[in-house]
């Protein structure tokens, strides 16, 4: 089942690559254009992904993996982190990120201990990278 889903998803992606390549301009064999190589890879990928989807369709119903809840949540957290890092600044955004990952990773401690652990780790990282190694970390609205 997973091969069917991933095959169809990647088939859609290869169609998009083909469309974009045509839009960019393929040129000719004598003078290949900007979209030439992506047209070739897109076409091969379309054929291969259809073959994969067909394989998956033949094997459908064999197994079903459980939905990866912690991973899905972690992905949402990571994307949110990237989007708010500039606004909140390194310290606050990272403090929240580390705390959430401790919880998602399965650290079995009360909430105040998680906050303390996250605070210590973030402070150490801030001191090591921001102060000692002088990496210009994003400051955010609070200036830290």
């Amino acid at each position: 089942m997973s091969d069917l889903k991933s095959g169809l998803f990647l088939f859609g992606l290869s169609l998009f690559v083909l469309w974009e390549s045509l839009r960019l301009g393929v040129g000719t064999l004598r003078e290949p254009g900007t979209g030439f190589i992506s047209l070739c890879t897109g076409a091969i990928m379309a054929l291969l992904t259809l073959a994969l989807a067909y394989q998956g369709w033949r094997k459908r119903g064999l197994r079903k993996a459980p939905p990866p809840r912690p991973a899905l949540l972690a992905m949402a957290v990571l994307i949110t982190y990237s989007l708010v890092l500039g606004l909140l600044g390194f310290f606050i955004a990272t403090f929240l990120l580390v705390g959430i990952f401790f919880r998602l990773g399965g650290v079995k401690r009360p909430w105040w201990a998680l906050i303390a652990m996250s605070l210590v780790v973030t402070s150490l990282a801030y001191y090591l990278f921001g102060v000692l190694l002088r990496v210009y970390l994003p400051r955010g609205f609070l200036g830290i």
């Binding site: 990647l10 974009e20 064999l29 900007t34 890879t41 994969l52 990866p68 809840r69 990773g105 990282a125």
Partner: protein
């Protein structure tokens, strides 16, 4: 004579205090990351790649090579002590290494892994020193058609030898090449697949893709799962193998080194397959094959020698042709580009300081690994005791800071996190990240040589078949694609099945 002179020049460069320091840092950091479960040289190099932006080219390459073989050694430590291979190349070490540890012989197992790696690493470096300049001279005859065919051959061989589905591996190769076209077209300067994001105009930098796919992808996959960490209680002692251990291991180390080195040069074999072959060969040659898998020292010595020698072997095509053969060499090649060096056959002559400095560092680096790691085994055991739930948060944190620090850009953090999600999905649906990374690195060369060849031949694809070397490369590619139809199996798949058993 010229080689000895060049090596002396390399030692002159390497023995500068700063370079010695970078080598030390590289081997230590590499071992530290390699010790962490599930993280091998590819992940170690990806996670630590941002460090090179603060060092000169020679020092950076010395440090990255140190990270590479340090991580390899670290992976062996976890295989022996915890039965969790740091990466695929250490899977075979688990078979006998962990059994030896259970029998109270963790010390000799770790000791022979260290000495075997040191001997094999040194043999590999001698091979690198001899073969790389010769191959580079030969490659000066290559034109765009040969480079195109060589890149196609590398990608198909990597797919052929990959441990999963051939179709999935080829899909990843196509996707990797497509991703390599993101940014400005080098011929026309037209923007491709940028969609209005200025961060994408310079293309997808490998450092963010690799950190996302190998670092974050691994963490996301293991999230919420409790990785079994049955660290053997008690102190690891008697690290020095006995005379009998040496007698049993000498030939396996020699054979493992040769197998590893020569297979490491070929695209796709990387460091994992040679370990399986070395182990299988020792089992076949042994007078007591039934002892393999129960804690025999030959079962540790041979694969450990093979993986370290192949690690040196992979440097040959990378440094002499500019062709990576596995994930680690892809990242090292990308690092060369980041450092402003031009990979290819002219690298050795145009930047002898980088090549010979690197070769000299590998002689000393292997010794450094031995001298440092034997006394530090206790420390690595302590690292293994840190719960994975805490480690995963630290890896995520390190990835975020590493990605940001490269260009001080939040956009880079976003790109890395997106590739973390892609890496997770790839692992979950059993697509191999290695092929994607290799294709991403080879993509620009493949595209340039294809377009140049077609311009040269005025649009005739026959140019790839009319030049003998190019035709041979394409023939090998074709055979590797078609052979599973006739033989019913592939080497990588067989290796995976052997691991699962």
């Amino acid at each position: 004579m010229e080689t000895i002179h060049s090596l002396a020049y390399g030692f002159g460069i390497f023995l500068q205090p700063a370079n010695l320091f970078y080598c030390l840092v590289g081997t230590l950091m590499g071992t530290l990351v390699g010790v962490l479960p599930g993280l091998g040289p590819g992940a170690a190099l990806s996670l630590l790649l941002p460090l090179i932006f603060h060092a000169p080219p020679v020092s950076s390459m010395i440090m990255l090579a140190g990270i590479c073989y340090g991580a390899m050694y670290g992976g062996s430590t976890t295989s022996i002590l915890v039965n969790i291979p740091g990466e695929v190349a250490s899977v075979v070490t688990c078979f006998d290494g962990y059994q030896m540890a259970r029998q109270g012989r963790a010390g000799p197992a770790l000791g022979i892994a260290a000495f075997g790696s040191f001997i094999a690493g040194t043999i590999g470096v001698i091979g690198l020193m001899i073969f790389a300049p010769t191959l580079a001279n030969f490659a000066l005859q290559f034109g765009p058609p040969e480079y195109f065919s060589l890149a196609v051959m590398s990608l198909t061989l990597v797919s052929y030898i990959s441990r999963g589905s051939l179709i999935k591996s080829l899909i990843m190769a196509c996707l990797g090449i497509t991703l390599s076209t993101v940014g400005m077209d080098p011929f026309t300067s037209q923007a491709r697949f940028v969609f209005g994001f200025p961060d994408l105009l310079n293309g997808l930098e490998l450092v963010f893709v690799a950190m996302g796919v190998f670092g974050l992808g691994e963490v996301l996959l293991n999230l919420g799962q409790s990785l079994r960490q049955d660290i053997l209680a008690g102190k690891v002692k008697n690290l020095f193998p006995t005379r009998q251990d040496w007698r049993d291991s000498a030939k396996p180390i020699a054979r493992g080194s040769l197998i590893g080195f020569f297979l490491g040069i070929l695209p796709g074999f990387g460091t994992a397959i040679p370990t399986f072959i070395a182990y299988a060969l020792e089992k076949r040659l042994s007078q007591h094959p039934e002892r393999f898998g129960t804690g025999t020292i030959e079962g540790v010595a041979a694969p450990e020698a093979a993986n370290n020698a192949s690690s040196s072997g992979t440097f040959i095509p990378m440094l002499s042709l500019g062709i990576p053969v596995n994930v680690s060499s892809s990242i090292l090649l990308a690092a060369l580009v980041i450092l402003g060096l031009q990979p290819g056959p002219l690298l050795i002559t145009s930047r002898p300081d980088v090549f010979w400095g690197l070769v000299a560092s590998m002689y000393v680096g292997n010794a450094m690994l031995l001298v440092l790691n034997l006394p530090l085994i206790g420390l690595w055991v302590q690292v293994l005791r840190v719960p994975y739930s805490i480690l995963c948060a630290l890896i995520v944190l390190f990835c975020q800071i590493g990605a940001y620090s490269v260009n001080n850009s939040v956009g880079d953090v976003l790109i890395m996190n997106i590739f973390g999600l892609i890496g997770f999905a790839m692992k979950r649906y059993e697509f191999e990240g290695g092929t994607l990374i290799l294709a991403l690195v080879l993509g620009p060369m493949l595209e340039n040589s294809l377009r140049r060849s077609l311009l040269l031949s005025e649009g005739s694809p026959l140019i790839f078949f009319s030049r003998p070397l190019s035709a041979v490369f394409l023939l090998i590619a074709l055979i590797s694609l078609l052979s599973p139809l006739f033989t019913g199996g592939r080497l990588g798949k067989q290796a995976r099945e052997a691991t699962e058993e």
